[in-house]
């Protein structure tokens, strides 16, 4: 199965979860998602998602200057983001449970 298609639907909640854990800048978030097992996540997709969540008001943002190179843009979660994460987490559990039951039941039949 093409997991990149699945990823598209859940990238928002994945990014929210990662940032909720700890503030991070773009590539830092990518790295942590990959470390968590989402190896096929695309850099630009994550950056775009971070920007969108920020403009939706789910994330805060601040710039950290760097001594050796360009500045980094960090994202952190806010109250709205936490609420969004909670709602999506609930949605995912229900959806995943439904899918698991469906697929297991099919396999058993």
């Amino acid at each position: 199965m093409d997991t990149t298609q699945l990823l598209k639907g859940v990238l928002d909640v994945a990014v929210l979860a990662v940032v909720a854990e700890e503030d991070g800048y773009g590539y830092d978030v990518v790295r942590r998602l990959r470390a968590a097992g989402l190896a096929e996540v695309g850099d630009a997709s994550v950056y775009g998602t971070l920007r969108r969540l920020y403009s939706q008001g789910a994330l805060t943002s601040y710039v950290v200057p760097s001594d050796e190179g360009p500045h980094r843009k960090y994202y952190g979660i806010n109250a709205q983001g936490r609420a969004m994460l909670a709602a999506q987490r609930k949605d995912w559990r229900e959806f995943a449970g439904t899918m698991t039951r469906l697929l297991d039941g099919e396999a058993a039949a």
Partner: protein
């Protein structure tokens, strides 16, 4: 990684980020900033995380290998950020100067379109399109024939006549085939609809070729059908066609002076050629002037008149007068220049007062034993 290669990486990252920003150029600047803020740091970190480039040379830092083309990267960024892809403004905008020129051209076109004469002209032009289809085929044919001439050593069998008209069945078949294709395309058949670009391209090429082909056809008439790399062109020095009048050693003569066997000058002698045609030195009924050897003023001549009242131009020496003595304003509108002369016409200066006598002729001018009867001055009186 040493400092130099770090600078190289920074430069490559900067270039790549700039490319990505350019790809997002259709978006408002603040949205582009929002999407790409911190992009350089992310790219640099991702690079540092990934497999190191082979060697430390900055030139090997190619971010497109690692991240894909800037275009694809920008698409992904745009899609994830929820900025619509393929919006009407997705096409790269023209530079501002070009946009201004296009707008000006559009305005000018609409001004012209409003003119009252445009509509009939356009309609007439569209009705003449079949003519253009034929012309297009002929242009193609001529261009083809030109190529054949260039390579005539290879395909001499269909060596063309160079005046633009097919000279044999093969050429007619080629021209006819081209005409059929051109007409069918013009009517939108034979894939002209699907191959709009090809059809238009052919039309443009035909238009471009129009001038050289016409020139070539026109030019080749002067060389005739001979086809050779080395051409010997005979350039006529004087007029190619002999002109009317009497010529001696390439020089037109104005008058003839006749002397009898004894060498005495004759007047009023009629001269005919072997076919009985009058020999005339002048052909314009005396309207032109002649410069005579040793005479400063130019002269004009008048005709003699025969018994029936006809004017005779083969009576020599021609009588005349200096050009100035004629009234060229021609108040009566006559065609006979003798009427324009104030006084009497006279004989122009003779080349010799006396020519050498012919052997066997008497000194008194009577015919010699072996000669034919010579005309005498008394026989035909001068006017």
């Amino acid at each position: 990684m040493n400092g130099t290669s770090q600078a190289g990486v920074r430069e490559a990252v900067g270039r790549y980020a700039a490319e990505v920003r350019r790809e997002l150029g259709d978006l408002p600047p603040d949205q582009v900033d929002d999407l790409t803020d911190g992009l350089e740091a992310d790219l640099a970190d991702a690079l540092a995380d990934g497999p190191q480039p082979v060697g430390d040379d900055a030139a090997t830092v190619d971010l497109a290998v690692r991240f894909g083309t800037p275009g694809a990267y920008a698409e992904e960024l745009r899609a994830a950020a929820g900025v619509p892809v393929g919006s009407p403004h997705r096409a790269k905008p023209w530079p501002e100067r070009v946009q201004r020129m296009r707008a000006a051209a559009g305005r000018a076109t609409s001004v012209v379109r409003r003119q009252p004469w445009v509509e009939p002209v356009v309609r007439a032009a569209s009705e003449l399109r079949p003519l253009w289809w034929l012309a297009r085929a002929w242009i193609g044919y001529q261009a083809l024939m030109w190529l054949v001439i260039q390579w005539d050593a290879l395909v001499w069998q269909i060596r063309p006549e160079r005046d633009g008209v097919p000279g044999n069945p093969v050429q007619w078949a080629i021209l006819l085939g081209l005409v059929v294709v051109s007409v069918q395309w013009g009517r939108g058949r034979w894939g002209a609809g699907q191959l709009t670009r090809l059809s238009r391209g052919v039309t443009v090429v035909a238009l471009v070729l129009l001038v050289p082909v016409v020139w070539f056809t026109y030019e080749s008439r002067f060389y005739g059908p001979e086809v050779s790399d080395v051409r010997y062109v005979e350039v006529p020095v004087g007029p190619a066609q002999p002109e009317a009048g009497v010529w001696v050693d390439g020089m037109q003569v104005s008058n003839l002076f006749l002397y009898d066997a004894a060498g005495k000058p004759l007047t009023g002698v009629q001269v005919f050629d072997d076919r009985g045609r009058p020999v005339r030195t002048t052909t314009d009924d005396g309207w032109s002037s002649w410069s005579l050897p040793g005479v400063e003023e130019p002269w004009a001549f008048v005709a003699a008149t025969d018994e029936d009242g006809r004017r005779r131009w083969n009576v020599y020496p021609l009588q005349g007068a200096p050009y100035e003595e004629f009234d060229w304003s021609n108040p009566t509108g006559t065609r006979d220049t003798s009427e324009l002369l104030e006084g009497e016409p006279r004989t122009p200066p003779l080349p010799f007062a006396q020519a050498p006598a012919v052997v066997g002729a008497d000194q008194d001018g009577s015919p010699g034993q072996g000669g034919s009867p010579a005309p005498s001055a008394e026989a035909t009186a001068a006017p």
